[in-house]
Symmetry: D2
Subunit: 185 residues, 4 copies
């Protein structure tokens, strides 16, 4: 089983990217986890660009997502909501005629330096994913607060956080497996 | 009094841009209304870019907004939320050290081809503007449904819609005036 | 298969109750649809009452919900959100130790006299149902605007609305069936 | 200046009620703070009851709120949203013909045993208060996490929390004062 990860932050030292990179090591056996290209490489969504043809960067992203069994989104919260760049990537994906997100199992994680851990971004993101008809797991939710104290040299090292996320990934594995069974039924 | 307008859509034939362009003609006497540059010219927000210096496009946008008496946001709804490009512009403005949005009076309008008129984008946007501590007018709300039937050759021609928006702008004029009085007190 | 319906409005002439009563006649073959008792019979949630024992009205509601294959919620929007009485019923159900809502398939419908059709209540409700770990169908969404023109003498008579809801119920039937298969896997 | 406080929780040992009772002691000089009657005394909102006449309990609540200079809401979060009982009280107040909430300055506080401190209830509440056209202060926001460790024998004793709330009340005092000046202008 292959999961792909969309990271909502762009900078090299991103704490959320550190969380995303940690997933491969704690994912259930038989699951490969691959980070998607940076959301910074996409243009701002523009219907005129779309009319001239879906950009290659979007098309390639869509193909990779479509081929995966599930999508994991790991994101900070910007101004009490979804980072614009992440939303822009999702907006583009929503316009690809093959609809790579429709019906796809999805998992949300967020991390922030504050105590709330990005919760506000998660609920806005959930509303977006209703529109896209994704199959989003409810609980457990991963909202990593104080993330700057849990990452060392770009590596998520906090054992409690790693264990909690490992549990979420195990639950998601079961969720995806059941979803595929149901869709095949 | 000078109001500036941020448009959440980029394409040339944007219905929301048509709404935005109509505002100057129906704004209260003594109010000039100026459209801000396209949100498409900003890069995707990246903390590394920020660390190297706020980009000129962001800095100029911030200066123009800071000099205005109020900000009007006219936006479509993308995937049940704020367009990524608009959120990206707001994310950048939130990082400018002079905080051009803080305490600024703000008005929200949305338009869509569907019946809901972009309402879902408006409430997500309101949550963002709480974070930025903007003074957002509550009511009346402008959510233009079926906008494709109300715009002709890029011009908002529906008289009912124009009259309703004119009423909202008059209310906002009063709101901004009171806000300035209070801040000066 | 048995579905139970929780109605968010209490008054006798409720338009949402009219929508709810229409469901039995357009549900897929083999599905019985039963309205739950009025939410008005429950006390305001109070932890001290709970500590003295779950009230009989709550316990009976919980038992009925637990025995059903799915829950349908049909509700108006009050003040841009969930009616307090409906939220109170959900709050009580969330406190019953057997957790009758956990994992249960759920469907949301709303109706209002305005054009937005109760959309704002639906998204708040969706956030609540994430917390309760319900399996909520995404789309199609039923938001009946101008409902007062579609109900005659307490009966939902608008054919377009009935057809659209019939389609949603068929999709939900498939959703519930798949959900049960997956859970049994 | 007189502020009234609506508490979203009913039980005698409520942590949020403890926060609410603490306000009088840390409010700015010249401000009296009075707790409103329990939300548990109101019936579930019912349009038929309303048609027969606003209940006395609602009418008295409305009169008290109308006479106050500002409303403070102190509430737990139930199932990721506003407690049903609190929303029910607000729904009733919204139906009183004198519109006691319209234009009234409002302040929100929440407390919970978890780390998020009731944030999700606050943003749903803010959306409701847009509808009611209240003048809600943006920041600073008070979300008291781990409240069970900060209340002793029904008294909010945590000095850090008390100081932070005291700062919020001072900011709100200024906010209400400016609002009244603007309205009188």
């Amino acid at each position: 089983m292959k999961w792909v990860v969309l990271v909502g932050s762009v900078r090299k030292g991103s704490f959320n990217a550190a969380v995303a990179r940690a997933l491969a090591g704690i994912a259930p056996e038989g699951v490969s986890v691959e980070l998607l290209p940076s959301i910074a490489q996409l243009p701002i969504y523009d219907g005129d660009i779309e009319a001239a043809g879906i950009p290659d960067s979007v098309a390639q992203l869509a193909t990779t997502v479509a081929a995966a069994d599930a999508l994991v989104i790991v994101t900070p919260e910007y101004n009490y909501s979804i980072p614009g760049g992440l939303k822009n990537a999702i907006d583009w994906l929503s316009r690809v005629p093959t609809k790579p997100l429709k019906g796809k199992p999805a998992l949300i994680q967020s991390a922030s330096m504050g105590v709330i851990g990005g919760a506000r971004a998660q609920y806005h993101l959930r509303q977006v994913l209703v529109c896209l008809d994704m199959a989003v797991m409810n609980v457990p939710e991963v909202m990593v607060g104080g993330v700057h104290t849990k990452v060392t040299d770009g590596v998520l090292t906090d054992q409690g956080t790693l264990s909690f996320i490992e549990g979420q990934l195990a639950a998601f594995h079961d969720f995806v497996r059941k979803h595929k069974l149901a869709e095949g039924a």
